[in-house]
């Protein structure tokens, strides 16, 4: 991971579909990279590795857009700031079948607030295909009158067209 490269960051709770979404977009098989990181919550000198999803999109001129999925475990949240540096924007995935996707949105939008203000974000409500009720309105309530645009789409994170629509929507707000 290099600061300053073109990258899109995928975040959201475990099981929301980050790996699936990155897999849809990536030109190469998605790998869980082990990134060496200093876990400041434990001990500054302690080196630990964090598994992050990584994929990329290669543009026609040989430029790369890197795709990173944030690690799931809470104790690696300190990684988020570093991960976002120089990033193009954020794709937040929440699971429609989870107990409170709106609360998940609130948490992640808060955690990534400054990054979102600098760049932009889009929310994908995943597993809408197997959810009994649409969670669109609840999620929409979290972002209403925030003063900046966050598109919300219901998607299947395993479906390439759906994930592309998320990226298109993200591009529109950047």
């Amino acid at each position: 991971m290099h600061i300053g490269e073109h990258k899109i960051v995928f975040t959201g709770p475990v099981g929301a579909g980050k790996t699936a979404a990155i897999t849809c977009l990536s030109d190469a098989p998605v790998i869980g990279t082990d990134v060496a990181a200093t876990d400041e919550t434990l001990n500054k000198k302690d080196l630990t590795t964090v598994a992050m999803d990584y994929g990329y999109i290669e543009l026609e001129d040989g430029e790369f857009i890197h795709l990173y999925g944030t690690p799931g475990q809470d104790r690696f949240n300190f990684m988020w700031d570093i991960l976002c540096q120089g990033g193009m924007g954020l794709i937040l995935l929440v699971d429609a079948t989870s107990p409170d996707p709106a609360a998940d949105c609130e948490f992640y939008l808060g955690a990534f607030d400054s990054f979102i203000q600098e760049t932009g974000a889009v929310i994908g409500i995943t597993r809408a295909d197997i959810s009994d009720n649409t969670r669109y309105e609840e999620v929409q309530d979290v972002i209403i009158e925030k003063g900046y645009p966050i598109p919300v789409l219901e998607i299947d994170a395993r479906n390439e067209d759906d994930v592309k629509d998320l990226v298109y929507a993200l591009m529109a707000v950047l």
């Binding site: 999109i57 026609e60 003063g147 900046y148 645009p149 919300v152 629509d165 591009m171 529109a172 950047l174």
Partner: protein, 331 residues
Amino acid sequence: MRSISLSLLGLTKQDHAILAVAIKLIDVPGTSLTILPEGVLSGEVILINNDTDAGADYLKKKNPDQTKIFLSEKFMPTPQGSRLLERPVRIHDLVNAFNISCEQFKSSTKKNIKVGSHANISTSPVNTNNTPLLLHEFITACQKNGLIKLECPPYSPLYINGISRSVATRASLPEIHIIAREKDTLPQISPLSAVEEYEQASSNGVNIYPINTIIWHTAMVGANGKILPEHSHDTPVKLKSMPRFPREYMRKHPEYLKMSALLTRKSMTVNQLQQATQLDIKIITDFYNLVYALGLSAIDEKANTAEIYGNNKSKKSGLLSRLAKKLSTTG
């Protein structure tokens, strides 16, 4: 005499010289071409120098009502309904292209292109179709919780119910498109006296549509640059959040997302949106009409309508367009 309006974009001196001759040789009785002032791009026909940046950009503009004639150094594919003349342009070919366009517009209704003293792109045709009027009725019904009957023979009447936000009619969606597109007949509008009357009218197997569906379909017909009654191109509006556009429209109109994003951050007028996006004023007006009719935007009286927006293409816009290209070519 049917006078057909002609816009010019980026023509060279040489092009102007050829144009001056060609325009006199047009041979379609009962028609003439009227050249619009520089910068007014809303003509029924537009002659474009494709070898300039603005000209090449214009290739991507989608306005099916306008006939485009491109002058180009190189052969290139052009969208349906447009014509390409390779350089060196022969007068004969240009006359031919004009003749075909004149034939095409001869029988259609004239659009009055009003050109103000400060000619600019926000100039809009005076006569238009029924779209703005229909949208206005839908808005009124919803705002007043009213019941309205709208007749446009020979089609089945539309019964608009602002309380349940629905429209009952025997007319099909394609017929509603036709009613909206109609230029010469105004629908008759009358209030319904009571809910019972609506219910009676809407019984016996008529289609009941959510009003938003009908608003989408009506707005998508396009209003040819005409804004809703009681609104102007200088009315500032703001969105509370990004609208939930149906996915098929999102793909068809990525510019709607872009404009929604701008209007979520800031109140803007149609004219300001035009400065900021450089999109065709007709596209912006259609978007404005749509989001207002859907109740997604609100007028913001306090906004600064005098602020000028540059077309600030950021450094990343090149990267984003390459990414969009890649996404559209794979899978």
